[in-house]
């Protein structure tokens, strides 16, 4: 027998797990503990397989590729969504932790770790998940000519494997099940950012409706939990930037974001105290004054009058003009910024610095979120 066959002779470890078992026909729910011997390289999925084969054949979960690409095996470990096949057990075992496995959140459970993905797919369909033709095909019948730089805008979004981990943890979906949610919106961005798609404006109009992009609470759980680095929250931010670029700002969220830009440009600061009247209108602003004063008292916002102009406002204006001039507003700018940051981060991690921005000692750069 040739050596290459010995797949099973690696050292083993004892793995302990608790699994929330559930039967939707009876409604029975039970937390069961299991202990099995598994090879040291085992993932959570391998451990579930061993349990199903040798301990309890009735355990239900989905799997197929076991290489983090099919998106079947999303489930929760200790309350956060993971891909079972991406979760190596060795460190967990070494730490002595006994993790609890349960079905993903925000989706109805069918049995044990299997959820009903119907709501997930109906959101997916709701965003019109196909390229809307409209632009003329190239005369030679060949491919559209598009630079890699333009395609990079949707690179992260096109990594999505529809696993549902983001949806499982989404804060906004918990309170509003109608919210389109991180996966569908990331898919939406995949088309909005695609220069071949002729539906950009209609799409942005749609995604700006209620239950759309501005309903996201920006909890960032989707970014944190996505196993493929799609960063759905960033996709939603890109959709916001594109909406404003296309003059779609009827939603409060859009007005809010727009005001940030204006404010940064005129004063170099975010005049948050003015933000409420600008985005919500004067009546509701009065209702919110208490809140604003509270913030001011805690030093969270500079007092509104007189407008306080940051020393380096010129730079902010110049930057703004440059971005506009080069057409780097909207999603493209965000992605280029991301790339630059990733490059800097990587080079720093490896002891090198390349084109790192000059930071003046002692000067706190303006802090913005939105």
């Amino acid at each position: 027998m040739s050596e290459a066959i010995l797949y099973t002779d690696s050292p083993t470890m004892d793995v302990r797990l608790k699994i929330w078992r559930f039967d939707s026909t009876t409604g029975d729910r039970e937390l069961k503990e299991y202990e099995v011997e598994a090879p040291e390289w085992a993932t959570l999925l391998d451990v579930l397989d061993i349990i199903k084969d040798r301990v309890d054949g009735s355990l239900a979960y989905r799997k197929s590729c076991r290489m983090m690409i099919c998106g079947s095996c999303g489930m929760r470990m200790d309350g956060g969504a993971v891909l079972a096949c991406k979760t190596r057990m060795a460190d967990i075992v070494a730490s002595g932790r006994v993790p609890t496995i349960s079905a993903m959140g925000n989706l109805p459970i069918v049995k044990d770790l299997v959820v009903d993905m119907t709501p997930f797919w109906s959101k997916f369909r709701a965003i019109g998940p196909w390229l809307r033709p409209g632009y003329d095909r190239p005369d030679d019948g060949k491919e559209y000519r598009i630079s890699q730089e333009r395609m990079n805008v949707i690179h992260k979004e096109s990594l999505c494997i529809n696993c549902g981990c983001c949806v499982s943890e989404c804060n906004a979906m918990e309170s509003d099940p109608e919210f389109l949610g991180p996966q569908a919106l990331a898919k939406g961005m995949r088309f909005v950012g695609d220069p071949r798609d002729a539906g950009t404006v209609e799409r942005l109009e749609d995604y700006n409706d209620s239950h759309g992009i501005w309903d996201c609470t920006r909890c960032y759980y989707c970014n944190e939990r996505c196993p493929k680095g799609v960063d759905p929250r960033d996709a939603i931010a890109k959709l916001g930037a594109e909406s404003i670029k296309h003059g779609i700002d009827r939603d409060m969220g859009a007005k809010h974001a727009k005001w940030f830009v204006k404010s940064a440009m005129t004063t170099g600061w975010l005049r948050e105290a003015e933000l409420v009247p600008k985005t919500q209108g004067i009546v509701s602003a009065i209702k919110q004054t208490g809140f604003a004063l509270e913030l001011a008292r805690h030093g969270k916002v500079p007092p509104p009058f007189p407008p306080h102009v940051a020393e380096r406002v010129k730079e902010a204006r110049l930057l703004y003009d440059l971005v506009k001039e080069q057409g780097r507003d909207g999603a493209l700018g965000i992605v280029q910024g991301e790339h630059a940051l990733a490059r800097i981060e990587f080079l720093e991690e490896h002891g090198a610095r390349l084109n790192a921005p000059e930071i003046q000692p002692g000067v706190e750069p303006p802090h913005a979120e939105g």
């Binding site: 027998m1 040739s2 050596e3 290459a4 066959i5 010995l6 797949y7 099973t8 690696s10 090879p39 390289w41 993932t43 084969d53 040798r54 054949g57 989905r62 799997k63 197929s64 590729c65 076991r66 290489m67 983090m68 690409i69 099919c70 998106g71 079947s72 991406k86 190596r88 069918v110 299997v114 993905m117 997916f124 369909r125 998940p129 196909w130 390229l131 033709p133 095909r137 019948g141 060949k142 491919e143 559209y144 000519r145 598009i146 630079s147 890699q148 395609m151 949707i154 690179h155 096109s158 990594l159 494997i161 529809n162 995949r190 088309f191 695609d194 071949r196 798609d197 990587f346 490896h350």
Partner: protein, 550 residues
């Protein structure tokens, strides 16, 4: 049990081949539905990393004829040349269409679809999307399914074909979520169920790749072709068999033995790491068998490519190596070995995907047209799923639209129900996983990269034994039943082919290719509970067999 629904065309399987077939049939005007045991986007086509071959000529001069010649030579002359020429001619148009639908391909400097070199190809011909090409294609095809609002019977396990009056008229499925048998009637049925890598313990294939469609066809008397031809991929990750794409070697990675030697210079001095897969797998296995391996592996080294290139172009590969082998390829070489990867064999079809049985078609890895012969070139499988998926869909639709009736006799449904009840009622006997693991381990040992007559004979007996034991098992997995029948066919065909050709390597008794006696396809049919061997000539148009060196 009642007939759940009737359609013009039913496609079993929703990977690249199945989805492409369904789209084509729909666009031809047929009422189409797909049946899949997992959601379409979960199909194993999504795991393809490297790319798809078409002579677009974006990276250098290229044309369909060169593509065809490379494919014929790569197939060790067992590929049918007519089928290969059709593939290579239609490939560029089919790839442009995918691009027009929105496939997110990587781009060249001038904005065209990027192409890279792949093993045994005369030009950089493999169009790609970073290292997620299959994923990108699955997504774009699913997008097009959604756009057409095609019906998908999702998480339905197809188990048995309905045959009446010598015509295939539908399929009986097990509804995995709700339970129960469901029958779907159809004027034509297309099998697109993918490969059977799960026959082996070390495989790049998903758990779902259990060759169901091939076995279903076999059970209704249809021939399987070239079943002995299982391709071993040279770079699968120890210990799980997860694939490390050939794209790594396309980017310039080296293969080293325990002495740090680029050993391919002794086996394929010109092509080196870009030689054909069968050649490299055998070289690796020889190194390992002769004691120059590293714990049963050889090493794939890409450190010299540099961190930036690895991060940018081989990001997914790095992630796989880190997750499944705990190795960061920026700093360390990856341990790899040959693993079962792709089944060149499958349901015997003509160039329109037609099988011997009227109304039954096959496409993709489940089918054998045959474009890959004894050895498939990297990047040609995805292309085959698209081009031949399209052709099968077109023909199946045309046939369905010119014939009117679908009849599912009640007796067929009653028989299926009875058989399933019997299977489910059995409680004594062995757990399927033992048999499954034993089958996979012994196939690897006795029907692997190198094949010996005694070992193949022993494997035949072993499978027969396993089949007996399996008869007594509570059926958790109907899949195991399928696998056992396919293994039987493979061994029968493998023993009959007394030569070495492509993936079928018999260095101990028949080390040479024998064009006089074996330039022909094997066919295996199931007759009265046993396999029956037959032969079929290779179609040749332009290219006469030559010695194959790289």
């Amino acid at each position: 049990m009642a007939v759940e629904a009737k359609h013009d065309v039913v496609v079993i399987g929703a990977g690249c081949a199945g989805m492409r077939a369904a789209i084509e049939a729909h666009d031809a005007g047929a009422d189409v539905a797909l049946v899949s045991k997992i959601h379409p986007t979960r199909s194993h086509s999504g795991a393809a990393e490297g790319g798809i071959n078409a002579a677009l000529g974006n990276a250098s001069e290229d044309d369909p004829e060169t593509h065809a010649y490379d494919t014929v030579k790569g197939s060790d002359y067992l590929g049918d040349q007519e089928a290969i020429e059709i593939l290579c001619q239609e490939a560029p148009g089919d790839v442009y269409q995918l691009e027009h639908w929105g496939a997110v391909f990587s781009r060249t400097e001038d904005g065209r679809i990027a192409q890279r070199p792949f093993g045994a190809a005369g030009a950089p011909r493999t169009a790609y999307a970073a290292d997620i090409t299959g994923h990108v294609l699955v997504q774009v095809l699913y997008e097009q399914l959604s756009r057409r609002e095609l019906k998908v019977y999702d998480e339905y396990f197809a188990w048995r074909l309905v045959v009446d009056e010598d015509r295939c008229q539908g399929v009986i499925c097990w509804d995995l979520l709700d339970g129960g048998l469901k029958t779907i009637g159809a004027k034509t049925v297309i099998i697109a169920t993918g490969g059977a890598g799960r026959l082996y313990v070390g495989t790049t294939n998903a758990y779902a790749c259990t060759g169901d469609g091939m076995a279903m066809a076999l059970r209704v008397g249809v021939a399987l072709e070239d079943m002995e031809m299982m391709q071993f991929h040279p770079t699968t990750l120890a210990p799980t068999g997860v694939l490390i794409t050939e794209g790594t070697r396309g980017e310039g990675a080296y293969l080293l033995n325990s002495e740090g030697e680029r050993f391919l210079k002794r086996y394929a001095p010109n092509a080196m790491e870009l030689a054909s897969r069968d050649v490299i797998s055998r070289a690796e296995q020889t190194e390992i068998d002769e004691g120059r391996g590293v714990e049963g592996n050889v090493l794939l080294d890409m450190r010299h490519l540099g961190a930036e290139r690895i991060l940018e172009r081989l990001h997914g590969t790095r992630e796989l190596a880190m997750t499944f082998a705990g190795v960061d390829p920026i700093y360390e070489p990856i341990p790899v070995r040959p693993g079962a990867h792709y089944h060149m064999g499958g349901v015997d079809t003509d160039v329109w995907g037609r099988t011997e049985l009227e109304g039954l078609y096959a496409a993709g890895e489940a089918a054998c047209v045959s474009v890959h012969g004894a050895n498939r070139l990297g990047g040609n499988a995805l292309m085959e799923t698209i081009t031949y998926g399209k052709r099968a869909g077109a023909h199946a639709a045309e046939w369905a639209l010119t014939h009117t009736t679908v009849a599912v006799p009640e007796s067929v449904e009653r028989d299926a129900e009875r058989e399933l009840k019997q299977l489910l009622a059995r409680t004594e006997g062995e757990r399927p996983w033992r048999i499954r693991d034993e089958l996979a381990a012994t196939m690897h040992e006795n029907f692997g990269v190198f094949r010996r007559e005694e070992q193949m004979a022993r494997q035949g007996e072993l499978i027969a034994g396993l089949r007996e034991r399996y008869e007594n098992v509570v059926v958790q997995a109907l899949e195991l039943g399928f696998l056992l029948e396919l293994a039987t066919c493979m061994v029968v065909a493998g023993r009959a082919r007394k030569e070495s050709r492509g993936a079928h390597s018999r260095p101990y008794d028949f080390p040479e290719r024998d064009d006089v006696n074996f330039l022909k396809h094997t066919l295996v049919r199931w007759r009265d509970g046993a396999p029956e061997l037959d032969w079929k000539p290779v179609t040749m148009t332009k290219w006469q067999p030559q010695e194959r060196t790289y």
